[in-house]
């Protein structure tokens, strides 16, 4: 039955559909509704465990530990909480725990503007924790896609054996749309890791060899381990080269936008071509190269000061123009003016 569903609810239901049986979280706008849903759901379903942790650090550690114990686990937070979760995120990558972290972004840094939407935690997903690691992140732009991509994120987690990040923003979390969740079918990948209590393994955040022996002074072992992890992540990411491309004939300009920004500028599709990456990280290098080569102007419209734009520039080896929607200001008219000014400046 079609009904009004919010982005947050769709994320929660998507996780349940994917087989999630553990949620840990700490209240933070705009992700609190996921926590509330989990609390309610655990009351009615004894197989589903729930923890309202003392802080996001504990929530993230609990999520990863639950994954080690054999549950499909996830957590949800916003920018400041995601900052606290970085420690656990790094740990999850080293001990190879499949789980999902939902980050509903709001204006930062620090407490920022609660609760104005933003898209400024992109660098945090890649570089928030210490060392080299290879996260995979998806970013839906509709309530239905929230549902589908949460399930996709769980599948990608099992394939890459790592925490997958599902991005959203304050707009999307609180966006209500008519969706029939029961009719959406998603593929579900089963658990790929033996749970705790079935071996004599060591799950350590310290550098280790293949059987889990701590090796803190051997570059060869470390390199081998890292290449293996990188290869696995790349293979998992390649399975999901998700994007949306709306070409406009004779347009010399390509707009790149994702998440809620892509919804806002969708009415410009009659004037410009629009490219929407859904897999935010790893950056869709091949696709971006292919799509952008025939355009004279490339404008990245995003809710941060050029975080994604810098990745695009790296990927296509070419300067792009930016329209940063900062401080929660996502007005279409303003964006349109900014695009016009960019084009004027570029000598159209």
């Amino acid at each position: 039955m079609k009904r009004l569903v919010s982005g947050n609810e769709a994320i929660f239901q998507g996780a349940i559909q994917a087989g999630a049986s553990y949620f840990a979280g700490y209240p933070i706008s705009p992700a609190s509704e996921i926590l509330q849903q989990a609390a309610l759901y655990s009351e009615e379903n004894s197989g589903f465990r729930f923890l309202q942790a003392e802080d996001e650090i504990a929530a993230a550690i609990a999520t990863i530990s639950a994954s080690l114990s054999g549950a499909k686990a996830f957590t949800a937070t916003s920018g400041p909480g995601f900052t606290l979760m970085q420690e656990a995120l790094g740990w999850g990558h080293v001990i190879e725990a499949p789980c999902v972290f939902v980050n509903s972004m709001r204006v930062g840094p620090s407490t920022g503007m609660p609760t104005q939407p933003a898209q400024s935690d992109l660098l945090q997903i890649k570089a928030g924790s210490a060392g080299d690691y290879y996260p995979i992140a998806f970013y839906p732009n509709s309530v239905e896609e929230c549902f589908r991509l949460t399930a996709t994120a769980f599948n990608a987690a099992e394939e890459s054996l790592s925490p997958i990040i599902l991005l959203a923003d304050a707009f999307l979390s609180h966006l209500y749309e008519m969706v029939d969740l029961e009719r959406i079918t998603v593929e579900v990948t089963p658990r790929s890791k033996e749970p705790l209590g079935s071996g004599q393994r060591l799950f350590t955040g310290t550098a280790h060899d293949k059987i889990g022996n701590v090796k803190t002074n051997d570059p060869v072992v470390y390199r081998e381990w890292l290449w293996e992890v990188k290869g696995r992540h790349d293979r998992a990411a390649e399975k999901y080269p998700l994007f949306e491309y709306l070409p406009r004939k004779n347009s010399e300009t390509l707009l790149i936008a994702f998440g809620i920004t892509s919804r806002i500028i969708s009415s410009l599709k009659d004037r410009f071509s629009i490219f929407r990456p859904i897999r935010i990280y790893p950056v869709l290098e091949k696709e971006l190269k292919e799509m952008t080569q025939s355009y004279r102007h490339i404008i990245v419209v995003e809710g941060s000061d050029g975080q994604y734009a810098s990745w695009v520039e790296c990927a296509i080896c070419r300067k792009v123009m930016k329209v940063p929607c900062l401080g929660g200001g996502f007005k279409l008219k303003w964006i349109q003016n900014q695009i016009e000014e960019c084009l004027k400046g570029a000598g159209r």
Partner: protein, 344 residues
């Protein structure tokens, strides 16, 4: 001597990383022995540890072991127990890990009382990083980060963990071996959150600076500082070794007072029409009446019906049945007031 506990140790990884004379060896060995005695094995037991010298303990156990980031073993252990109640979960950690960086988790995990057992190798120093002052370093102790003596009072783990039942807190040392064994065994058997605070020595990075020549001298020092107390205790003094435990007292829930009001027949009530009711709005010394579900109540005693700041829905002399739907309170509130009549 029964050496079968060695099955629980990853001997292929020996020699271990700890300094000669360190107390962690005694902790690890006695925990392994106690687990073996209880017939726990890798299929039903998980060891969790944090960071520090003590954090390496889990890696030497022949079990599935989880080596968490600094300070987080309690959260991890609690979650493992939640998801897999069939597993026995033990935490092998230290005072810096549990009391300092993981202090928040110590407060909240113990409050939630999961059935896990925590062994804290309490050596009163940060050993792995070279001998910095820790949360349990006694006041006045010279360390490399408190060259004039630690200026602050130490954290009293015992006080924190015995603040409200249920709790199990044992303090022992690596020198009082038999006592150590008893504490470990009782803690493993305790249903709920149990914490064993094992006073341990760090000769290389703390003891020598304090003037001790050997680990044995430090043991003797423990013997002087602490004494064993026998029997059931609620709390331990700071110089006492023993077990403080308490179950939750079954507090009988106070019965809610139910006043049986004599049944009043509708016909016996004084009838009011809506027009009549309107005059009872509190003006001119008259009482304040409202109607609810066909009955009239005297709300003169309610502060919300008086003065200019009366709330939106509190209108005297009206039928307020429909307004109940948007009220933040239930109809019980109305029934508390005295019934004076019925609405015609």
């Amino acid at each position: 001597m029964d050496r079968s506990y060695k099955e629980l140790l990853k001997l292929r990884r020996f020699p271990h990383t700890w300094c000669p004379g360190c107390g962690i060896g005694a902790v690890l060995k006695n925990v392994a022995m106690a687990i073996k005695e209880l017939n726990w094995n890798y299929q039903n037991t998980v060891a969790v540890s944090g960071i520090g010298c003590s954090g390496r303990m889990s890696g030497y156990m022949n079990l599935d072991a989880v080596h968490t980031p600094h300070g987080r073993p309690l959260t991890a252990a609690e979650t493992i127990k939640t998801v897999r109640p069939d597993l026995n979960v033990i935490v092998l950690s230290g005072d810096g890990d549990l009391g300092s960086i993981g202090g928040n988790h110590l407060l909240h995990t113990s409050r939630r009382n999961p059935d896990i057992t925590v062994f804290c190798n309490d050596n009163e120093i940060y050993g792995l990083t070279g001998g910095q002052a820790g949360p349990t370093t006694p006041k006045g102790t010279k360390t490399i980060t408190s060259p004039r003596g630690e200026p602050y009072l130490p954290l009293r783990l015992g006080r924190i963990l015995t603040q409200q039942p249920p709790y199990f807190y044992a303090r022992t040392t690596v020198y009082h071996l038999n006592h150590l064994k008893t504490c470990i065994r009782e803690a493993l058997l305790w249903k709920g959150f149990s914490f064993v605070d094992i006073i341990s020595d760090c000769i290389e990075l703390n003891g020598r600076r304090l003037g001790f020549k050997t680990a044995h001298q430090m043991f003797k020092w423990f013997d002087q500082r602490f004494h064993i107390v026998e029997g059931e205790r609620d709390h331990l003094q700071e110089d006492e070794l023993g077990i403080a435990k308490a179950m939750t007292e079954e507090v009988p829930q106070p019965m809610e007072k139910v006043e049986v009001k004599p049944e009043i027949l509708m016909e016996d009530l004084k009838p009011f029409t809506l027009e009549e009711l309107q005059s009872f709005d509190g003006s001119g010394g008259k009482p304040i009446y409202i109607a609810y579900k066909g009955k009239v109540y005297d709300l003169s005693a309610s502060p919300l019906f008086q003065g200019e700041k009366r709330m939106r829905c509190h209108i005297a002399g009206k039928d307020l049945t429909k307004d109940m739907g948007i009220a933040p309170h239930g109809e019980d509130l109305v029934f508390k007031f005295s019934l004076v009549g019925r609405l015609e």
